[in-house]
């Protein structure tokens, strides 16, 4: 039986003057209904593009993806309308994802209005429900975005995304622009909503502690490719791919007693323009050797744990 969201060999390439950008390159994964998949990676790794492709804000170059058993890779206008009631996206920046000239009510009501399923009174009722659900005080109904702080704005964005009762929500860095005390409020809200409505999340972030907290499974992306995927806790307990390890050790820890020696990576992320075959991380990898120039594929290193490193098996047994 296919999983709720099933992505197979998805590619998204952009043609630019400097060459073809392989923003998402041959990515496959699946998410079970009601589950959360975290997508982690640094800027330019293609995680946001992946999210945008999955909600049809961008067209894929090749590959297929299925939502609830249906192939939703290519959609007609009418199908797209229905698809968008199923799949929604929450953006990173609550400052730019709200129309500054719309009141809170306008923003939340717009999807209801566009769905043509509600009359005026039902829309007002549903708006009140959604505001309540997202924890927005009723007195803010006629407030404009600039009158709200980041946390409240993000609540409005969440209420808008949930207006059509979607089953699948892409959260693209929904808490990165928020302060920690507010970030925790929004994370709790997202988790509560998931429980209540059995939502399926794809949670895109660069923040490893956030992704561990909210995800069931985690995918690590590097330059458009999936380099490691496993259950959340295992990623932190037994990372296999050298990039994952470097990423984990790079995060400054607030625990002052557990100072770890960190492996500082050389070099910087290059842009994924016309990449050469072979491991894309090899140029920065402390363990790179000749074998890394060959093609890479995801290998099973443990049950439910795959990694794209030719040395994966050796890494697994090696001490960390």
């Amino acid at each position: 039986m296919p999983e709720f969201l099933e992505v197979r060999n998805l590619k998204k390439h952009f043609k630019t003057k400097r060459g073809t950008v392989h923003a998402v390159d041959d990515v496959s994964f699946s998410i079970g209904r009601g589950g959360t998949l975290g997508i982690v990676g640094e800027s330019g790794c293609g995680k946001s593009t992946l999210g945008r492709v999955l909600v049809h804000l961008e067209d894929s170059t090749s590959g297929r993806f299925f939502l609830d058993g249906e192939d939703v890779t290519i959609l007609s206008r009418g199908q797209l309308r229905k698809f968008r009631e199923q799949a929604q996206i929450i953006f990173q920046d609550p400052y730019s994802s709200l129309n500054p000239r719309y009141t809170v009510e306008d923003t939340i009501q717009e999807p209801l209005h566009l769905s043509r399923r509600y009359n005026k009174r039902q829309m007002d009722e549903k708006t009140a429900q959604l505001m309540d659900l997202a924890g927005i005080a009723a007195r803010l109904r006629l407030a404009y975005p600039h009158e709200l702080d980041g946390g409240r704005r993000q609540r409005v964005v969440i209420a808008r995304a949930l207006a059509l009762d979607p089953a699948f929500v892409v959260c693209d860095e929904p808490v990165s622009a928020l302060d920690v005390s507010i970030q925790a409020q929004i994370l709790n809200l997202l988790m509560d909503l998931q429980q209540e409505k059995n939502l399926t999340y794809m949670f895109i972030t660069h923040d490893l502690s956030v992704v561990r907290h909210i995800s069931d499974d985690i995918c690590v992306m590097y330059l458009g490719q999936l380099v490691e995927k496993c259950p959340a806790k295992e990623l932190f307990a037994a990372p296999v791919h050298p990039y994952t390890r470097a990423l984990l050790s790079a995060v400054p820890s607030a625990n002052i007693h557990a100072r770890r020696e960190r492996a500082v990576l050389r070099g910087e992320i290059v842009s994924p323009i016309d990449p050469k075959p072979g491991c894309r991380f090899a140029a920065r990898c402390p363990q790179a050797s000749e074998v890394c120039k060959g093609p890479q594929k995801l290998e099973l290193v443990a049950p439910g744990h795959v990694a794209a490193c030719v040395k994966a098996q050796a890494q697994k047994t090696g001490a960390y």
Binding site: E42, G151, D179, H206, L247, V251, I256
Partner: protein, 319 residues
């Protein structure tokens, strides 16, 4: 004020005054920093961290900003009383500031080497050749090969640009470095490189540093002392270990509890309820009291003074 205090801020108060409202950005902040030490200013957006740093370097945009009171001593000199000419000399020679966004801190039509050399010439009055040599040295110091002297900012990645910014800030060997969210715009692996580099430079030059950040991890890695800021006030101040291990103020405690852990399982995060107060209408008493679980009648009544809770560890709370 102890003998070796290098930077001392006393009762700094800054407001932003517009036609319609007055934002109380910084309300009587006192800070002390000894030579060679690193102080972390931690707080949320709008807490007044950046305003403090800008007040120290006197680059507040005025109006709307207005320094309402306080003194800032650098090595015994009150910066707020210096004439602008001398202050200009101070900036660059003794004080440097690194801004959050490396993308906008560099001039896009000037090669990076010359931007650093310009700083050096302006403050050290040396020949062009000598300035160039010094600029090349500063680039090498931050890990950029001197061959890239003639390249332009757009040829550098974000991390490299921030290195250039740091090189420029350190070029004249300042005694005090103010770094405003120096790594926030960077990816974690690049941030790790940057923190590593700043550690090395700090060991090398012993510059007194103030790091402004909202990231407790960065504070833990970089700082000797921590000042937690809330609504323009320091609510807790102390050595890194004291604040991190024995956080005394409910806000500090709440901040730590709100961060999801990378190593432990937490079923549910404990956020601080509510929102930061409106800076145009701050509460009279404890600014945090409306969000505080231990709030009682006393808290909101009158301003709360800093109280000593341990050696060198102070906290603005009645409890």
């Amino acid at each position: 004020m102890s003998q070796d205090t290098f930077l001392s801020v006393r009762g700094l108060t800054v407001e932003y005054v517009t036609k319609y409202e007055t934002v109380q950005a910084v309300n009587g902040v006192c800070l002390d920093l000894s030579k060679g030490q690193t102080l972390g200013l931690v707080g949320e957006t709008g807490a007044g961290k950046t305003t403090i740093a800008r007040a120290v370097t006197r680059i507040l945009q005025s109006p709307p900003a207005a320094v309402r009171g306080g003194e800032i001593f650098l090595d015994g000199v009150d910066l707020l009383k210096l004439p602008e000419r001398e202050m200009c000399h101070m900036r660059g020679n003794r004080i440097s500031m690194i801004f959050q966004d490396p993308m906008t801190a560099l001039n896009p039509v000037m090669c990076v080497g010359n931007q650093i050399a310009e700083v050096i010439r302006k403050h050290d009055h040396v020949s062009a050749a000598a300035a160039r040599q010094q600029a090349e040295m500063s680039l090498e110091l931050v890990g950029i090969p001197a061959q890239r002297y003639g390249e332009y900012p757009h040829q550098f990645s974000g991390g490299m640009k921030q290195r250039v910014v740091i090189a420029a800030a350190l070029a004249c060997g300042p005694d005090l470095l103010l770094a405003d969210e120096p790594t926030t715009a960077l990816d974690v692996t690049i941030q790790a490189q940057m923190l590593d580099m700043m550690h090395r430079l700090h060991d090398l030059k012993e510059t007194s540093t103030v790091i402004i950040t909202h990231d407790m991890g960065v504070v833990a890695e970089m700082c000797d002392y921590v000042a937690v800021i809330y609504a323009g006030e320091i609510v807790e101040y102390g050595a890194l270990e004291d604040v991190f291990d024995h956080a005394a103020h409910p806000y500090t405690v709440g901040l730590f509890a709100a961060i999801p852990s990378m190593w432990e399982d937490v079923a549910r995060l404990t956020p601080i309820p509510g929102q930061p107060p409106d800076p145009t209408a701050l509460p009279v008493g404890c600014k945090f009291s409306p969000r505080c679980a231990y709030m009682d009648g006393e808290c909101g009544a009158r301003p709360v003074e800093m109280k000593t809770v341990g050696p060198g560890h102070t906290c603005r709370c009645l409890r």
